[in-house]
């Protein structure tokens, strides 16, 4: 890959810890290390997929980037400006560029607001349009996501799940953002509707020249959407690679296990599965050394002692493993 423009978004050493409080005085007794040192970059017009199992911290990364969580430490640069140091009016202006689409459109839309108010809310908050102009902009946005603008005075409950997700996308596009953070945008939808939404997102990306951070646990969906993919495990990125390379030749044992856990729709491929033993450890008390060593089939003594850093593995690939897989295995 020769493409090396400046990243639109760059995250360096991102950490987000949540306090565990207990007892009558609610003393802090520990920390849940939801995100523990994440580095990633999203380049203009690309889709970076962020995959991992529940509790690995992928949603927290998205919410930190949107500054909906205060970060514990680390830097987030958007077009070169550090988001973590912004406040007040400057933060609000920067937020126009980064918008979110959530998993469950049922709970992310206010049931008592017409969709005109919901989709128009960002415009009203930022003072960009009102009255007739606002109505026209909302109509444009609804058309853009394939909904009939005549329905703008209806309430969310009058729409199906797929239509509601279209409304959520229209709202996210209201401020003409440059980056969309898509947090499991199709996980609550049926497969026949999921494909409609995925295709819509790809069309919109081309048409509006958007960049996506696509967060999902569904590897098939991530492969379809992303140019590059980052795999997270217990608050850390264990592997980052162009999506085709990742799927054809995973370097991290966790990535390999994750790929082989996907139930293939080909009944003939039954035998070739490597399944992981055990559950994900608790992020409040992660294992020493490499966090994956407790479930890794290739773990050796030093894996429990030394934590591997995310290292350059050539050809735009990065892996955090002492003994990365290679062709020979």
């Amino acid at each position: 890959m020769t493409r090396m423009p400046k990243p639109l978004l760059e995250v360096r050493g991102l950490k987000k810890y949540f306090e565990i409080r207990k007892g009558f005085l609610m003393r802090t007794v520990g920390w849940v290390k939801a995100v523990d040192g994440v580095d990633l970059a999203v380049y203009p017009l690309e889709t970076l997929g962020l995959v991992g199992e529940s509790g690995c911290g992928k949603t927290t990364v998205g919410l930190c980037i949107a500054r909906l969580y205060e970060v514990t430490s680390g830097k987030i640069y958007f077009q070169g400006a550090d988001l973590t140091s912004l406040a007040g009016e400057k933060l609000r202006a920067m937020r126009r560029n980064i918008q979110l689409v959530f998993q469950d459109p049922q709970s992310s839309l206010d049931p008592r607001m017409t969709i005109k108010r919901s989709v128009g809310a960002p415009l009203a908050i930022h003072g960009l349009a009102k009255g007739r102009a606002l109505e026209e902009r909302v109509a444009d946005l609804l058309r853009m996501v394939g909904l009939d603008p005549q329905h703008m005075n209806r309430y969310p409950h009058e729409f199906s799940g797929g239509q509601r997700q279209r409304i959520g996308i229209a709202r996210a596009l209201a401020l003409s953002p440059k980056l969309l953070i898509l947090d499991e945008p199709t996980s609550a939808l049926d497969v026949s509707v999921q494909s409609q939404i995925l295709n819509l997102l790809r069309d919109l990306q081309q048409r509006l020249r958007l960049s996506y951070l696509f967060i999902s646990h569904d590897l098939g969906v991530v492969r379809y959407m992303s140019s590059r993919i980052a795999v997270m495990y217990l608050g850390k990125i264990v592997e980052l690679a162009p999506s085709e390379d990742l799927f054809c030749m995973p370097l991290h044992p966790y990535t390999q296990a994750l790929l082989s856990s996907i139930p293939s729709t080909n009944p003939a491929h039954r035998a070739m599965r490597v399944t992981l033993e055990g559950d994900i450890p608790s992020p409040a008390n992660p294992p020493s050394g490499c966090r994956f060593h407790t479930r890794c089939t290739y773990a050796r003594a030093e894996c429990a002692k030394l934590e591997p850093a995310l290292q350059d593995a050539a050809a735009g690939r990065y892996v955090a493993c002492h003994f990365p897989l290679s062709n020979s295995r």
Binding site: S261, I262, T265, L276
Partner: protein, 325 residues
């Protein structure tokens, strides 16, 4: 796998009477499960797959629901003719069930051990001591780490995967001949899903029990089941062996469903879509229920409901124009 039929559902109708009108959740479903077979029942949400399971178990909430017609034959007996008391003794012993959310199927204020022992005592008439031993054996069998300690734990102290193991242990503790599993792995992560599916398959094969596995995930069906029935809007549109359905899906809906899932094993350019959404169950379309979304629908499709057609050995499809090859 035996050739003997274990469960046979014939022309089942289950309706819900609501203020919005009569919801025909199930409108003529036919299914059969052979002894020792794993049958996958697939479809999108609202197609009636869970209501089918509830109808078999005699657990349709009434009112508003009612089984309006059809027969459910289990080991030769018609379950619809049973009294509530007879059904209660069948459920949990001869037909067991596992639901999607293990957290909400277990009582949060009782220990795991007490809940397991209760089921065993209820159906087997044994002492608490021997029920406890059996509970421990079952936890061993579902490969639960440290079963002794788990007996004394409360549900919230276990992870989703561990709870689903407990549910499987409870379901299999009375040696059922049929297990109904409604989306047993949907709430779990993929790595844990793979463990649970493998475990379920092993234990079922060992006991020669049959499973009706309800799921929306075609991958799960392809990996786990022997046969499949595909449901759409309250009817079964296609059924056959896993091999023949995945090799040559004959119903346009089945084919569409397979093509619109992004395949993780290869790069796809543009996803196929099924246009539109699942129809309103109060006013389902006349004729073939899929015709408003079907690319090959004709006037016949909107008027006449298609009868089952045989397209291969044991492969049946309800379509006027089945796909070929």
């Amino acid at each position: 796998m035996g050739e003997k039929l274990l469960l046979q559902v014939e022309d089942l109708h289950t309706y819900f009477y609501t203020l919005q009108g009569v919801i025909k959740a199930i409108d003529g479903v036919n299914l059969c499960v052979r002894e020792g077979e794993i049958l996958g029942l697939v479809g999108e949400s609202g197609c009636g797959k869970s209501v089918t399971a509830l109808s078999i178990l005699g657990l349709v909430p009434s009112p508003p629901g009612r089984v309006e017609g059809g027969r459910i034959l289990f080991e030769g007996e018609d379950l619809l003719a049973k009294t509530p008391a007879e059904m209660r003794s069948i459920r949990g012993s001869r037909i067991a069930m596992i639901f999607q959310e293990p957290m909400s199927s277990l009582n949060p204020v009782f220990r795991i051990g007490d809940q397991m022992i209760e089921v065993i005592k209820l159906h087997k008439k044994v002492s608490t001591g021997s029920a406890r031993i059996q509970a421990l054996e079952m936890l061993h069998e579902v490969r639960m780490p440290d079963p002794e300690a788990v007996l004394a734990k409360y549900p919230f102290q276990l992870s989703g995967g561990m709870l689903q193991r407990v549910m499987i242990a409870i379901a299999l503790s009375c040696e059922p001949s049929l297990l109904l599993a409604d989306e047993p792995t949907t709430a779990l992560d993929v790595t844990v899903q793979a463990q649970i599916l493998n475990l379920m398959k092993d234990l079922i094969r060992k006991r020669n029990a049959a499973v009706l596995l309800i799921t929306h995930a075609l991958g799960v069906v392809a990996q786990t089941c022997d046969a499949v029935s595909v449901m759409y809007a309250g009817t079964v549109v296609e059924s056959g062996s896993v091999e023949s359905i995945f090799r040559s899906p004959a119903h346009p809906y089945t084919r569409g469903l397979m093509e619109c899932i992004p395949d993780p094993s290869r790069k796809s350019d543009k996803l196929k879509i099924i246009p539109g959404t699942v129809p309103d169950p109060v006013n389902p379309p006349p004729g073939c229920r899929f015709h408003p979304r079907c690319y090959k629908a004709t006037a016949t499709c909107s008027q006449i409901r298609p009868d089952p057609v045989r397209v291969g050995p044991g492969h049946v499809v309800c379509c006027h124009y089945p796909e070929e090859g």
